[in-house]
């Protein structure tokens, strides 16, 4: 199964932002205008505008002609178009696209200071025990591996944070292959899901989750280059 990955910066020069903003639907333009910081407005316009350009290259439509829908839990989808999922963090957007219909989710995160209480509250018992064995930079790396894998899975499931984060266990120790170890919720059957670690930058990680049901995943980076520069 082929999955295309696209990475782009969210702070391009102003003329490019204007070009991308021209693709947006009225609701997206209104959404962009709400951000308090100008950088936030530009980042949103760049993220959504480039998303439209890329998806339009799959469907053959004009970027502005795409009509997004939302599933029951609010995830954007493109009726008649490819399966896709978008994430953004630390000045970058990451987009996973599958021309064939499949459930997929992507999450990227720049490492930042984390309140240990976040792990205590949202990770499963098994994950907390695994994380407790790590120290210093390994703890932070483990935390972000766990977080991005869980986010990618709940985004891929289509149900987002309505799924309990502690209802399933993923691997997190640096170096260990990404996978679901166990699941206590019916929406995530471990053998159906492939998890891939995205080692994007020393302080910037991601995960891709695909409900491939055992079919091998071939990732193709279509835009950007791993490791991402200046993350």
């Amino acid at each position: 199964m082929d999955i295309d990955l696209w990475f782009w910066r969210l702070d391009p020069p102003a003329p490019r932002v204007a070009e991308l903003a021209a693709h947006l639907a009225p609701d997206e333009a209104a959404r962009a205008a709400r951000f308090v910081r100008p950088e936030g407005r530009a980042a949103y316009r760049t993220g959504r505008g480039r998303l439209r350009e890329i998806l339009a290259s799959y469907t053959g439509d004009a970027p502005a002609a795409l009509r997004f829908a939302q599933n029951a839990w609010g995830r954007p989808e493109l009726p008649g178009g490819p399966a896709f999922n978008l994430s953004h963090a630390a000045g970058w957007a990451a987009l996973a696209v599958s021309p064939t219909p499949v459930a997929l989710g992507i999450d990227i995160e720049g490492q930042r200071n984390i309140e240990p209480a976040v792990a205590e509250r949202f990770f499963s018992t098994a994950e907390r025990q695994e994380l407790d064995r790590l120290r210093g930079p390994d703890w932070a790396a483990g935390f972000f591996r766990c977080w991005t894998r869980k986010e990618a899975l709940i985004k891929g499931s289509g149900e987002g944070l309505s799924l309990p984060l502690h209802g399933f266990d993923v691997t997190l120790t640096p170096g260990a292959p990404a996978r679901i170890v166990a699941s206590r919720i019916p929406q995530l059957v471990p053998r159906n899901w492939s998890l891939l670690h995205l080692d994007l930058h020393p302080t910037f990680v991601g995960a891709l989750a695909v409900e491939a049901r055992g079919t091998p995943i071939n990732m193709h980076v279509r835009e950007g280059r791993i490791p991402l520069a200046d993350a």
Binding site: R34, V36, R37, I114, E115, R121
Partner: protein
């Protein structure tokens, strides 16, 4: 703790979680995600930071009640009262 103290505490924790934001730029009704760009991990960090600072454990169902400065001051005053 007065509403003014709660307001100060909330703004300090908010700007610690999201250093790009200036406290002076935060409007009473600005939504922390839709207007101020916090992502889901920032929100969880804010919840944990408020718990540590104020001793208020905020359950997930109450997250909408801290999504703006005005709502958060009311909610936290109620919980601390």
């Amino acid at each position: 703790m007065t509403p003014a103290d709660i307001r100060t505490a909330y703004l300090e924790e908010l700007t610690a979680v999201a250093p790009d934001i200036e406290a002076a730029d935060v409007g009473e009704d600005d939504h922390i995600q839709d207007d101020l760009e916090l992502d889901s991990m920032d929100v969880l960090n804010l919840v944990a930071a408020l718990h540590k600072r104020l001793g208020v454990d905020i359950p997930e169902d109450d997250y909408p009640r801290i999504e703006t400065l005005a709502k958060a001051v009311d909610y936290l005053a109620e919980r601390l009262g």
